[in-house]
Amino acid sequence: MEIETKVAIGDPKIDLFEDDDEFEEFQINQEWDEKEEGKEIAQQWEDDWDDDDVNDDFSLQLRRELENNSEKSQVYAPLFFLLLRLILLFVRQSLDGIMLYCFSAIVENSW
């Protein structure tokens, strides 16, 4: 089976001592029995992690985000604040008027 290499690995001169991951030499004649450990390591992979559980922290935060910024408030929120501003403006102007009236009444009466 032919293996084509598509990825070039830099200028050989500069990358002279590249490859941090050089496999360590096994001793010549070294034999080992890996059956037990081989089985153990083969069991360290999960392929059934993609479940339907949405009770983890991330999912709960996601749910809150989707609910808080629900569609209606995106339309109404700006309107709401506009209305609030108008009311405040009216109240302030009214307050100013009332203040002015009171002040002038006091002044009048003291004369």
Binding site: F17, D21, F23, I28, E34, F58, L66
Partner: protein, 413 residues
Amino acid sequence: MAYMSMGEAHRRITDYLNRFSDAVSSQDVASLKQLLSFSSNSPSLLSLADSLNVFQDANRLIKQSDNYSPFADITVPLFRSLQHYRTGNLVDAYLAFEKSANAFIQEFRNWESAWALEALYVIAYEIRVLAERADRELASNGKSPEKLKAAGSFLMKVFGVLAGKGSKRVGALYLTCQLFKIYFKLGTVHLCRSVIRSIETARIFDFEEFPKRDKVTYMYYTGRLEVFNENFPAADQKLSYALINCNPRSEANIRMILKYLIPVKLSIGILPKDWLLEKYNLVEYSNIVQALRRGDLRLLRHALEEHEDQFLRSGVYLVLEKLELQVYQRLFKKIYIIQKQKDPSKAHQMKLDVIVKALKWLEMDMDVDEVECIVAILIHKNLVKGYFAHKSKVVVLSKQDPFPKLNGKPVNS
């Protein structure tokens, strides 16, 4: 340094030469190996080097003796190499060693049986290691390093000697692995191709016949090549073989295998357990695994940034970056499940605006058109099953299995 007399030096030299010819005549490879292993820095080799400096007429000694002269082409340059090695003159040490090794190969060819194979392994290893040190010396003197490249050519020749029908052919895989180490170090991995082709297609070779330790090393390097070429099923098969068959006590090697196997497994939708990452100190992958589990694009981005240098050096950065599509899929799936819990009848009609909101929360500012693009890509790659109701900016998900699992296969390219 203790003073060595001329007599003592002479004795040590003849001692070595006797052991050499005895080893050859009695086919004692265990003894022969030790006489060639410079990098072991054994006391006997070091004192031999000193002896050669005291008694400076070893060449005449060799050529004038019937016992020693048959191997003069091997031992004369070997002695010269040892002296240069001792004085830290690595370039000359390499050149002389290569000359000696060349003569050794000629003899090796003539020996019918494979009795000296392990000595050949030692020579191959020493050639590579001496060449690396010679190149460091050249580079530090501002010269162009080219001895490792020369060592590669030399070992290819040796490979050719072994690639025949006889019992010597089981040595070919060890030579192959030494060549891999050279090519990977030089960054000339395209040169691996021809030797791989010989090993895998030549009829004289039966892969199962090779020693296990060489098969593990071979699968590690060819597995890494498959990762570079993004052939994930092949990479999975080879690196998994290396992993399962590796000496469990070689923790450094197991870690290296996992370093490349984990991105491959992630690309086919399989996650490593935390235990594995912790035991072999591969915690740079922890957040990436977490990001996949959660569907957390922000975490993926951070994890890639945090370990960018590491991932670039090992060449797995692009592989990990492409996991983004799988993370999108997981996020969309979660949104779908959350909406289904609120209103089961409407959940399969996912408004793109909802996705925009979720992405904004994950610090990704995208408008509805960009989101539509991404969903389109996921549909194209079969990560999402559905179609667009474009005007209403809704993706209508399939009622059955709208987010198909990878099932051990990589995402469609």
